[in-house]
């Protein structure tokens, strides 16, 4: 009994001493901490931006955690963090509570099919219009590949994301004024899960984020991006074709891609102090360089960046 008490006492005092020493050592260096939480989609980018910013301003420390866009939003609104990372559009109910979104990066959802899809040549020649995609994903009016593009009468095996996410919101929004919950299809968890489901099913149709649909510069093995027939002329024009990362990047950058989405830093009210300076850094040329280096995002155009900076 006595030894036990002694051991506990020793451990406790050791812990106390270590904490005190650590506090003492850390305090003079870091006067400011910027705390950030939120979407997984923005976590890699924010981490890299934080690292670079810390190098320029060693007195600023970062505390970044990921737990979903809603968590970031809740934390930012309650004041638990300085900045929330939100990978979807900000809801009007959230804006009503004081959420101030700053547009920080772009991503997009790309419809994908299996490389062995029986209608593949037709798909690549004609593409699918937004109206038809709506019939497939929302209205359930179009249920065979024949109805979608002509060709074989095989059914379309539709897949969607089960977890609430930016890709699904963007894809639903591209098809009209819809939300993720309106998308039909088997719900598969996560970007990789959805990709795998389509990769295994020759009749499958799903959608994926930039960072999963491309591996390096090329489309990931086993899937093909379905061109969206944006101008509804019944054929895939050069500007609608996406068969490598560069074309996707260009279309999103120039705002020509219909299922692009915006990702945000959210603060409660306008950002101020350290958070403000960090967000300016994220919107600077250096911030854009880091964004391109991390990959999986498309930067804002210079005009868009200027607009955002003006709003700060």
């Amino acid at each position: 009994m006595k030894t036990l008490v002694t051991t506990i006492a020793v451990l406790l005092s050791a812990a106390l001493i270590i904490t005190l020493v650590k506090l003492k050592r850390v305090e003079p260096e870091h006067r400011t901490t910027i705390s950030i939480s939120g979407a997984w989609a923005l976590y890699p980018l924010t981490g890299k931006l934080g690292e670079a910013y810390h190098k320029l301003h060693p007195e600023v420390k970062f505390d970044i955690s990921a737990g979903g866009a809603g968590k970031g939003m809740t934390d930012a609104l309650s004041g638990a963090v300085d900045i929330g990372m939100v990978s979807r559009e900000v809801d009007k109910l959230e804006k009503a509570q004081g959420a101030y979104p700053i547009f920080i990066a772009k991503d997009a959802a790309f419809p994908v099919v299996n490389t062995k899809n029986p209608a593949l040549p037709l798909l690549l020649a004609k593409g699918i219009s937004i109206e038809t995609f709506n019939g497939i994903f929302i209205a359930k009016r179009v249920i065979t590949w024949k109805q979608a593009v002509g060709g074989p009468a095989d059914p379309i095996h539709l897949y969607t994301r089960s977890d609430a996410c930016g890709a699904a919101s963007a894809w639903a929004a591209a098809l009209g004024k819809y939300k993720q919950e309106d998308l039909q299809g088997i719900g598969v968890y996560g970007d990789p899960g959805l990709l795998e489901a389509v990769r295994r099913d020759p009749l499958g149709l799903g959608y994926n984020n930039l960072s999963f649909v491309f591996t390096g510069d090329q489309v990931t093995d086993g899937v093909v991006i379905v061109p969206i027939d944006a101008n509804k002329n019944g054929k895939v024009d050069p500007g609608e074709n996406i068969d490598n990362r560069d074309k996707a990047y260009q279309q999103i950058l120039e705002d020509r891609y219909p299922a692009a989405r915006r990702e945000y830093f959210v603060t409660k009210g306008k950002p101020k102090d350290a958070a403000l300076d960090f967000i300016k850094f994220a919107l600077s040329d250096e911030g854009t360089r880091i964004l391109n280096e991390v990959g999986g995002y498309v930067p804002l155009t210079d005009a868009e960046k200027a607009t955002e900076v003006k709003r700060l």
């Binding site: 809740t74 059914p155 089960s162 996410c165 489901a197």
Partner: protein, 309 residues
């Protein structure tokens, strides 16, 4: 000296009482928190519409949880049907037939199953169970079982109630086997010997004497397994298809309550009524598990009385 001893005793007794009360009150505290957070939804929509509504469409203000309740019951029910017979037979074998050597190998393996994180079961489900159902079992069912209710299908992607139930069954098996095995081994040797001395065979002894005597414990083992199945989240949501429509066949997808919460909570907790609906779903799940446990307790009490007679 005497006072000091009494003091020690008093302190020890009350410290333990406090610990007991604390753990007991936790359930109440959790339930209370959920009720408070879920109340805005029930106040706005009415309990009836939430519990019995068929449509889940938060953006249009429809928060029907019925498809999720049905999904939970389907997946858990099928998992129980798949797991319980196999587990009980395995437990009887381990406790009554297996020699020390075989037991020494098999028992640790089964216990090991209990320690595997659920996401690994989920990955296994996606990589093995789902493709098996999509490529082998589904097409077979489409060809031969078309007219059998609950088993008929035209086509399945593999993401289905059956996939969820298989993964769940494997997950709850070690729990059921381990407890059932302990319960059976706790039956005194004399009981068996009396039975043998009356000329009963081994089979008769096991079924009529050992299992009968161990029945309350065996029920408890099954109940614990099912309780775990009701709340299991990650592994199930990865394979079950997550479509909020009441299923008609085991090859259809379903959407259990825990999956609804896990899929949406992190993203949607900042939208007031959505948050409230997800916590309402959590409250409902808690209520289902509690109700099930109560039911099981009554069954158990009944079983004990019958055995005693």
């Amino acid at each position: 000296m005497r006072i000091r001893r009494q003091m020690t005793d008093w302190i020890a007794r009350h410290a333990m009482l406090a610990a007991t009360l604390f753990s007991g009150l936790l359930v109440a505290a959790i339930a209370l928190a959920l009720v408070l957070r879920a109340r805005p939804l029930f106040a706005a929509k009415g309990i009836g519409q939430v519990l019995f509504g068929n449509t889940w469409s938060p953006s249009t203000g429809l928060f029907g949880l019925k498809p999720f309740i049905i999904g939970t019951l389907w997946v858990t029910g099928l998992a129980t049907v798949l797991a319980v017979p196999v587990c009980l037979l395995a437990a009887i074998f381990l406790a009554e037939y297996a020699g020390p050597k075989l037991r020494g190998i098999v028992k640790p393996l089964i216990d090991l199953l209990a320690g595997i994180p659920s996401v690994i079961y989920g990955v296994w489900g996606v990589l093995v169970v789902v493709p098996f159902i999509a490529d082998v079992l589904g097409p077979y069912a489409a060809a031969h079982w078309q007219r059998i209710p609950l088993l008929g299908t035209e086509f399945t992607t593999g993401f289905s109630i059956l996939a969820g139930a298989v993964v769940l069954a494997v997950m709850i098996a070690p729990v059921i086997i381990a407890i059932a095995d302990e319960v059976l081994r706790a039956v005194p040797r004399e009981v068996r010997e009396v039975s043998y001395s009356l000329g009963a065979t081994r089979m008769e002894t096991i079924l009529r004497v050992v299992v009968r005597r161990a029945l309350p414990g065996l029920v408890a083992a099954v109940v614990l397994g099912i309780s775990r199945a009701l709340g299991e989240t990650m592994a199930v949501l990865m394979v079950v298809g997550n479509v909020p429509i009441a299923p008609e066949s085991v090859f259809d997808p379903a959407y259990p309550l825990p999956a609804l919460i896990a899929n949406n909570y992190g993203e949607m907790m900042s939208i007031p009524l959505y948050d409230s609906a997800l916590l309402g779903a959590a409250l409902l799940l808690l209520a289902i598990v509690l109700a099930f446990n109560l039911l099981a307790r009554f069954t158990l009490a009944y079983a004990i009385r019958r055995v005693a007679q």
